[in-house]
């Protein structure tokens, strides 16, 4: 009986403010169900990527399958789905949440409800998840579980009277968490006899099996040998294996409605396994796709160049490897006068861009220069043609441009009431067009239409700082709008540095030019000669700064006969300059290209 089977499945995720113990709880659940032996738990299993651990964020969704023998004597199949935690990956998160019926909300018994707690709860509520609060860290002397329980009830409006009080660190109360999952979260529903509908909520590339899809079976079933069709792309594959991850591959005879597992079908290209797509039976297809699919289109572009030109091929190989596992990363070769040969890369957002560049530097040991991120502008030329420009250097001369359009997004900002004023001001400064404001209890949701180019700057930081971390936001691309845009050039020692050019709104050009010049003045170290820095629009200089010449750099004494020692000192000094890029006669630190983005206006 299908229902009886599904009665014993629970699909859930864990949500929490950073450092409230999400990963530790996940580890503990896996350990208790024997997915991992204690001694094997060298590190937190779900956050396996170094970068993820370091930043305390999860970048890729993952699902782990566990078996739990409950107090009612029944054994339940539990699927824990870990989700990314950043607005760049909002779409990925929404697909992962769509695969769940419930969420564990971990709240730190010493910290109480915090900014991300709320933001996460809102997202879970949007997906109609049953939220079970869990009060963690009760072993700490400063724990105040009763107060925190009251906070959860007052601020979030969840009944926390039965919230398990646990310490994931010392392993206290873990069984209560399991019992809550089993007794309070709904079992999945779905018709096993209906045509197959499997929601792809993540995919990754396995060197031996090709691209593998993580799926939630919404209806029907899938088994090896079935010919499946990706409803969005239309591509068809023959299923080789299905099963669960725990966390190794555990093949099964079939995945049925309500299951969360993997499908391997010798898929060569990860781009055929799009997050949000629906997999169906090619012979007996579902009538329609599952809702919510969005194609992951790169929204932000930047140039990535090796500091050492000889690393170009290595960079190319590294990007290819990363793309195997990341369908939302795009790249193609480009050249810059200032930086030489590199790649124009497309990302979901700024964090995605930062993560990719950090992985390139760490996992592939590359020294990189990244240029200012840009969105894709539509340039309408006087001859009637339309040109997509994602690199300011490719902008045609002003005389050939009839008008330009830039991408706009619908931004929704959730915030406690007291920050509304400050956040509206921020949105105004970012050229936002106010749409409406919706009250949700003592919280407010602001709706704005904003140029994407403003969002990719420092919007995230500003929103967080002006709301003391309590506001969260999401955005959705909605179209292009005509805009008064100009190209801003930076000149170093009289020469335009193409890698620093940017397209900006005319009204902002002066301010940005001034602030870029000031920033560059700060990040370019003093050199032997004075270096003028200028900002120019269409050949007209609008701001000027000067990096003064260095004043003194000489060794007073020469250590008697030990000449080698002196040479080594100079060699060290030379090595220290390795991260500098020679642009004409000026040496610019690699960081300068990114640092100019972090501007307080």
């Amino acid at each position: 009986m299908a229902n009886e089977r599904m009665e014993k499945i629970r699909n859930f995720c864990i949500i929490a403010h950073i450092d409230h113990g999400k990963s530790t709880l996940a580890d503990r659940l896996l350990e208790k169900t024997g997915v991992y032996e204690k001694r094997e738990m060298v590190e937190q299993i779900l956050d396996s990527m170094e970068l993820e651990r370091e930043r305390g964020i999860t970048i890729k969704s993952k699902a782990v399958h566990m078996h739990y023998k409950a107090r009612d004597g029944q054994t339940y199949a539990l699927n824990l789905i870990d989700t990314p935690g950043h607005v760049d990956f909002t779409y990925e998160v929404s697909r992962a949440l769509a695969a769940c019926e419930g969420a564990l909300l971990v709240v730190d018994a010493t910290q109480g409800v915090e900014a991300q707690t709320l933001a996460n709860v809102y997202m879970a509520l949007e997906h109609n998840l049953e939220i079970i609060p869990v009060i963690n860290k009760i072993d700490l002397p400063s724990a105040r579980p009763d107060e925190v329980r009251a906070e959860i009830e007052e601020i979030i409006g969840l009944d926390a009277s039965e919230a398990p009080r646990i310490s994931a660190k010392v392993g206290l109360g873990i069984d209560d968490v399991f019992e809550s999952v089993v007794t309070m979260m709904p079992a999945p529903t779905g018709d096993e006899q209906a045509p197959l509908q499997a929601l792809v909520f993540d995919s990754f590339y396995d060197n031996y099996r090709g691209a593998i899809c993580f799926v939630r079976i919404v209806s029907g079933s899938v088994r090896p040998g079935m010919r499946i069709r990706m409803m969005n792309t239309g591509a068809c594959f023959d299923v080789v294996e299905v099963g669960f991850r725990s966390p190794g591959y555990a093949p099964a005879d079939a995945l049925r409605a309500g299951d969360v597992g993997y499908i391997a079908a010798s898929i060569k290209d990860i781009h055929d396994t799009r997050v949000g797509d629906t997999i169906t039976d090619d012979a007996n297809p579902a009538a329609q796709m599952l809702p919510g699919y969005r194609q992951a289109t790169p929204m932000v572009f930047c140039g990535i160049y090796p500091v050492d030109g000889a690393d170009y091929e290595n960079l190319k190989e590294a990007l290819e490897k990363l793309r195997l596992n990341d369908a939302s990363l795009s790249f193609e070769p480009e050249t810059s006068q200032a930086l030489g040969y590199g790649f124009r890369c497309g990302f979901l957002g700024l964090l995605h861009m930062e993560i990719i560049t950090m992985r390139l530097e760490r996992e592939f040991d590359l020294d990189l220069i990244t240029t200012a991120p840009s969105v894709v502008y539509k340039v309408h030329r006087t001859d009637g043609s339309v040109l997509d420009v994602d690199n300011p250097s490719n902008l045609p001369p002003a005389s050939e441009i009839e008008f330009m359009e830039e991408p706009y997004v619908k931004a929704s900002i959730h915030t406690p009431q007291e920050y509304v004023g400050a956040l509206m001001e921020t949105c105004q400064n970012k050229r936002g067009i106010f749409k409406d404001m919706v009250y949700e209890g003592n919280r407010v949701c602001l709706h704005y239409e904003m140029p994407l180019s403003e969002i990719i700057f420092d919007f995230f930081d500003q929103i967080k700082s002006r709301s003391r971390g309590y506001a969260s936001y999401d955005y959705e691309f909605f179209g292009y709008q005509q805009s008064d845009l100009v190209k801003l050039d930076m000149l170093l020692n009289g020469d335009v540095c193409d890698a620093l050019s940017m397209i900006v709104h005319k009204d902002r050009a002066y301010a940005r030019g001034r602030s870029m010049a000031e920033k560059l003045k700060d990040v370019i170290p003093r050199q032997m000669f004075e270096i003028p820095i200028q900002a120019a629009i269409g050949g007209k200089v609008i701001a000027r700064e000067t990096v003064k010449a260095m004043r003194k750099d000489v060794l007073a004494k020469c250590y008697g006969g030990d000449i080698t020692r002196k040479r080594k000192l100079l060699e060290k000094q030379k090595e220290g300059k390795k991260r500098m890029r020679q642009l004409g006669s000026v040496q610019v630190p690699s960081e300068a290209f990114m640092a100019v983005l972090k501007m307080d206006e």
Binding site: M528, K552, V554, L555, G560, L570
Partner: protein, 390 residues
């Protein structure tokens, strides 16, 4: 005929280590100084047996504190040097000394032994600063030392001074310079303090346990003060940190800066001789063991590449105001400096940091201030080109 050389003798003995010092020298080994002198004498013989009885144009007894040796010990060392090598009759024979260690008898004996130039580590005429950096003498003792040296017959005198000391004000530096000049030495060295890792002063500065070091503005002001005082008093700058009355430049140091050959004996001493670079152990026991066995305790630094030699010629030569002998450079390396570093030299010349006059390539006063950056630019130019014969 073999090239004439310079001879350096290292005396690694001190009453007490100064807070800024990272040189090879030891406090508390005075009882072993006779043994050390004998070991150096043996090394001199062993080196001469290996390199031959070279003509020696300059001798430098450095330290440490060579004036911790008795007159007889210095006599013994210089006799051994004369026995081993052909010391020129007009050789410059310099001895370094600490004003806190001098006696009239010793000074007379040093002079009689052949020492004809005395270099006194005065550092400052400010007793507070002297104490702050762990010097064992006072300003008054320094003045007395100069008087004694003169009366012992030293007519070629250098005073070592330091600036950029913790808490030092430009006005204090001006006073020290004034007092030094009033003593009318033939030569003045003015060293900007280099904070060396592993020294007590380094730790104290980092920990904030002493007055902060002067900032760049103050240091540049002190540079200006130095230039003004020296010019007015008739001392010409001939190297980054060195000033002399006409004809009184230190010939021994000029050998280092011109990359001419020298032999260093004693603990930790470095040599550059017959195209080889080597040095002695800087461990007390290790040095004595080898020297007393009659061996030459040379650790080779390995072959210097042509590129390294060319670079070092510039690195050392550009320290001198008159610069590098470009004609000799071209003779030795088969290419003029302008052919080795065409871009850097052209850029530096255009920018007013370098100048070529006849056979010499030199840094301008402005270029001298940023010499490290100029040298690093040369290294980078070398790196950017494919290696010869590679």
């Amino acid at each position: 005929m073999q090239e004439a050389i310079s001879l350096y003798v290292h005396i690694p003995l001190c009453v007490k280590k100064c807070a800024y010092c990272d040189f090879a020298s030891f406090a508390g080994r005075l009882s072993q100084r006779a043994r050390y002198v004998e070991a150096v004498c043996r090394e001199l013989r062993a080196q001469a047996a290996f390199f031959g009885r070279r003509r020696v144009r300059t001798v430098f007894l450095g330290g440490g504190t060579p004036t911790l040796l008795t007159g007889a010990q210095v006599q013994r060392l210089l006799d051994a040097a004369r026995a081993a090598f052909d010391i020129a009759p007009d050789a410059e024979i310099t001895m370094e000394g600490n004003p806190g260690t001098l006696t009239m008898d010793n000074l007379r004996a040093y002079r009689a032994a052949g020492v004809n130039r005395l270099s006194l580590g005065v550092q400052s005429f400010d007793d507070g600063l002297l104490a702050a950096v762990g010097r064992i003498h006072t300003a008054a003792q320094a003045k007395e030392a100069v008087r004694m040296a003169r009366s012992a017959g030293f007519d070629n005198l250098n005073l070592d001074l330091m600036y950029g000391l913790p808490g030092q004000q430009p006005a204090q530096w001006a006073r020290t310079l004034g007092e030094a000049i009033a003593l009318a030495p033939e030569h003045l060295s003015c060293y900007s303090l280099i904070l060396e890792e592993g020294t007590p002063l380094h730790d104290a500065v980092l920990a904030g346990a002493c007055a902060p070091l002067p900032d760049e503005d103050a240091l540049l002001k002190m540079d200006d003060i130095t230039a003004a005082h020296m010019g007015e008093a008739g001392y010409a700058q001939y190297e980054v940190s060195n000033y002399a009355r006409p004809g009184r430049a230190c010939r021994h140091n000029l050998v280092y800066w011109a990359c001419l050959p020298y032999l260093g004996v004693g603990l930790g001493a470095h040599s550059d001789l017959d195209g080889r670079r080597f040095y002695n152990p800087d461990d007390w026991e290790a040095y004595l063991r080898v020297a007393e066995s009659g061996e030459t305790a040379r650790e080779a630094e390995g072959e210097q590449s042509r590129e390294a030699r060319m670079f070092e010629r510039m690195m050392m030569g550009l320290r001198m105001v008159r610069g590098v002998d470009a004609a000799r450079f071209a003779r030795d390396f088969g290419a003029a400096p302008e052919a080795v570093w065409p871009e850097t030299i052209a850029r530096m010349t255009r920018g007013g940091l370098m100048a070529r006059e006849h056979d010499r390539l030199r840094l301008t006063p402005r270029g001298m201030q940023v010499m490290n950056a100029v040298l690093v630019a040369m290294m980078e130019e070398t790196d950017s080109k494919p290696q010869f014969g590679g």
